[in-house]
């Protein structure tokens, strides 16, 4: 197990290096350099000069990448151009909010999706399955901003239960902040449940058709035991990895949802950063998201390895 963790950590470093290169290269694509990009029409030769010197833009790209990457490895992601604050601190303060949002959505959606997916798999082709599958299909087909907009329309504009947009002042306490989470988290939950339940349903159907479930049935043990002891663990194992791959991929949706609700998380920060062409901040966020992706997948991998006896003996 330890060897596996070490191996996976090393691979993660490789992954993150690739991410760093690609992100850096893409920001190099931006017309002009960071300085002109940042100032836009307000650029004056003096201002540009000063900023360029400050950022060391006169050096070649490879050299700048090396120094940026070197500092990033030590935890220094530079300063935001727009806010003149350290990128790391900016991200950290927003990350907390995004984690809160994602955490709430995850805690609600994963158990809900598992339950619905299992029910749908068990009742394949019957009414419950058709209902659940249809809802899931619709959930998958609606863009996040549409779900968000509909929720705003129904719950905040028509019924006026929750605030439509998040308003945070410096003195807003945690408890006062909570109502702001409900709508974005609900939006995220709807989309995630739709995807995860579909996946659980498919694996469940596969497993229920397997010979070992048939054998368990022929052993005359109670149906509940067949489902819980024989089918479920085997259906969940592949789901864990898939959920991880998906959660990381669905982070894109978080960006949209935070924008819809003006929710002060990393996603909103990213959109603002891109609009402001705040290159150090963009790079910092990209790296942060990649780290999250890698971590989630690492955890999922370790989880399946420790739960699946076949993988356990395979990987020692």
């Amino acid at each position: 197990m330890l060897a596996l963790i070490v191996r996976r950590l090393l691979l993660s470093v490789v992954t993150l290096t690739i991410v760093a290169v690609v992100v850096f290269a893409t920001t190099e694509l931006l017309p002009g350099d960071w300085a002109t990009a940042y100032f836009g029409r307000e650029a004056t030769p003096q201002r540009l000069e000063r900023l360029r010197a400050e950022l060391g833009l006169d050096r070649p790209a490879t050299e700048r990448f090396a120094s940026w990457f070197g500092r990033a490895l030590r935890g220094d992601l530079g300063s935001s151009l727009a806010r003149k604050e350290p990128v790391l601190g900016l991200i950290a303060s927003r990350l907390e909010k995004t984690f809160l949002l994602g955490g709430v959505a995850g805690l609600v959606s994963i158990p809900l999706a598992l339950a619905l997916g299992i029910i749908a798999g068990l009742t394949r082709g019957r009414r419950a399955d058709v209902a659940i599958s249809t809802i899931s299909l619709i959930g998958m087909s609606l863009p996040e901003f549409v779900v968000g907009t509909v929720l705003i329309f129904v719950l905040s504009i028509t019924l006026q239960i929750f605030p439509a947009l998040t308003v945070v002042r410096a003195d807003t306490s945690f408890v006062d902040f909570l109502p702001n989470i409900v709508l974005p988290a609900a939006t995220l939950t709807i989309v995630w449940v739709a995807y995860i339940l579909r996946m659980v349903r498919t694996t469940m159907i596969d497993v229920l058709a397997s010979e070992y479930v048939e054998m368990a049935t022929l052993k005359g043990i109670p149906r509940a035991r067949v489902v819980l002891r024989h089918a479920l663990p085997n259906a969940l194992l592949p789901t864990i990895n898939a959920i991880a791959l998906m959660l990381a991929a669905l982070l894109g949706g978080v960006v949209v949802i935070e924008t819809v609700f003006n929710y002060p998380g990393v996603g909103l920060l990213l959109v603002t950063a891109i609009r402001n062409r705040d290159v150090p901040l963009i790079q910092g966020i990209a790296i942060t998201i990649a780290v999250m992706y890698v971590t989630i997948n690492l955890v999922a991998d370790l989880l399946t390895t420790s739960l699946d006896p076949r993988l356990r003996s395979l990987r020692g």
């Binding site: 691979l11 490789v14 992954t15 993150l16 290096t17 690739i18 991410v19 690609v22 992100v23 893409t26 920001t27 694509l29 931006l30 017309p31 299909l137 619709i138 998958m140 087909s141 609606l142 863009p143 996040e144 901003f145 549409v146 907009t149 509909v150 705003i152 329309f153 504009i157 995807y195 579909r198 996946m199 498919t202 694996t203 159907i205 592949p238 898939a242 791959l245 998906m246 990381a248 991929a249 669905l250 982070l251 894109g252 949706g253 960006v255 949209v256 924008t259 819809v260 990213l270 959109v271 891109i274 609009r275 062409r277 963009i282 966020i285 990209a286 998201i289 990649a290 992706y293 890698v294």
Partner: protein, 266 residues
């Protein structure tokens, strides 16, 4: 069947928009701003007094074209690379897959926004960036499907005969992976539609004044309380289109016996 019907209706409407739209989608008529549905304006008008119906009819054209083309791009390069990696195996496969895994760690949405910021949201930029982003997952899927086939004896037979790699990939492997790729194509197109809508909503999509569903939702959602129809109709348009594609791709994969775990969009 239902799915296919929806898709076809959408395609027809998009193609014939210039013929059936009652107004020009960009025509501004200040006298009829934010009107509700009426005989003159079936879907009402927006804050500039533009006809919502005409804008909805036109609003899918670019998005549909972009997403179908980008899906072709994604499935082509992703599929070919995936098949090749699955066939070659060994070191090449290991190294390239490591890079692909690394690239998957970058949210495509971020990358696409950056590229659009740098190069503008022209047709080819959108097609290429979306085609790239979604192709990464296609590589994984095509490679997986290929691995299952490469182990079969008819590939061994072809290798033992001494067929060239190109022949093996194109004649032996390709026909067996094609159905997987076809389903991929259908699913990718629906996700791309969603992505384009989201991009437009964030202000990175097809640039105004070209009408676009995502952008319409964005522009009109602020006025949701007073003029909901401006939001409602484009929302219905996007959703029904995506539902249609999803239903069709479900039916497709079922018909091909490929009912399987679906991967995530971005």
């Amino acid at each position: 069947m239902v799915g296919l019907t929806i898709v076809v209706v959408h395609l027809i409407l998009a193609f014939t928009a210039p013929l059936i739209a009652p107004y020009s989608p960009t025509h501004i008529e200040p006298s009829v701003r934010l009107e509700g549905p009426s005989a003159d304006h079936l879907f009402g008008t927006d804050s500039f007094g533009r006809d919502n119906l005409s804008r909805v009819l036109y609003g899918g054209r670019v998005a549909l074209l972009v997403s179908f083309t980008a899906a072709v791009v994604a499935v082509t390069w992703g599929g070919l690379l995936g098949i090749l990696l699955g066939y070659l195996g060994g070191r090449v496969d290991e190294v390239v897959m490591r890079v692909i895994d690394g690239l998957l760690a970058i949210p495509s949405l971020l990358l696409i926004m950056l590229v659009i910021l740098a190069l503008g949201s022209g047709f080819s930029v959108l097609v290429l960036t979306l085609g790239y982003g979604y192709g990464l997952t296609v590589v994984r899927i095509a490679r997986g499907a290929t691995l299952a086939i490469v182990a079969r004896d008819f590939i061994t037979a072809a290798r033992a005969r001494g067929e060239r790699s190109r022949t093996i990939v194109l004649r032996e492997l390709m026909p067996n992976v094609l159905d997987v790729l076809l389903v991929e194509f259908a699913m990718r197109s629906s996700w791309m539609l969603l992505a384009i809508a989201s991009l437009s909503f964030l202000g990175f999509g097809i640039s105004p004044p070209t009408p676009d569903w995502g952008r319409m939702v964005f522009e009109n959602s602020e006025l949701l309380a007073i003029a909901p129809w401006g939001t409602v109709f484009p929302v219905i348009a996007i959703s029904s289109m995506v539902i249609g594609i999803n239903l069709a791709s479900d039916a497709l994969s079922k018909a091909m016996g490929l009912e399987r775990t679906q991967e995530a969009p971005l």
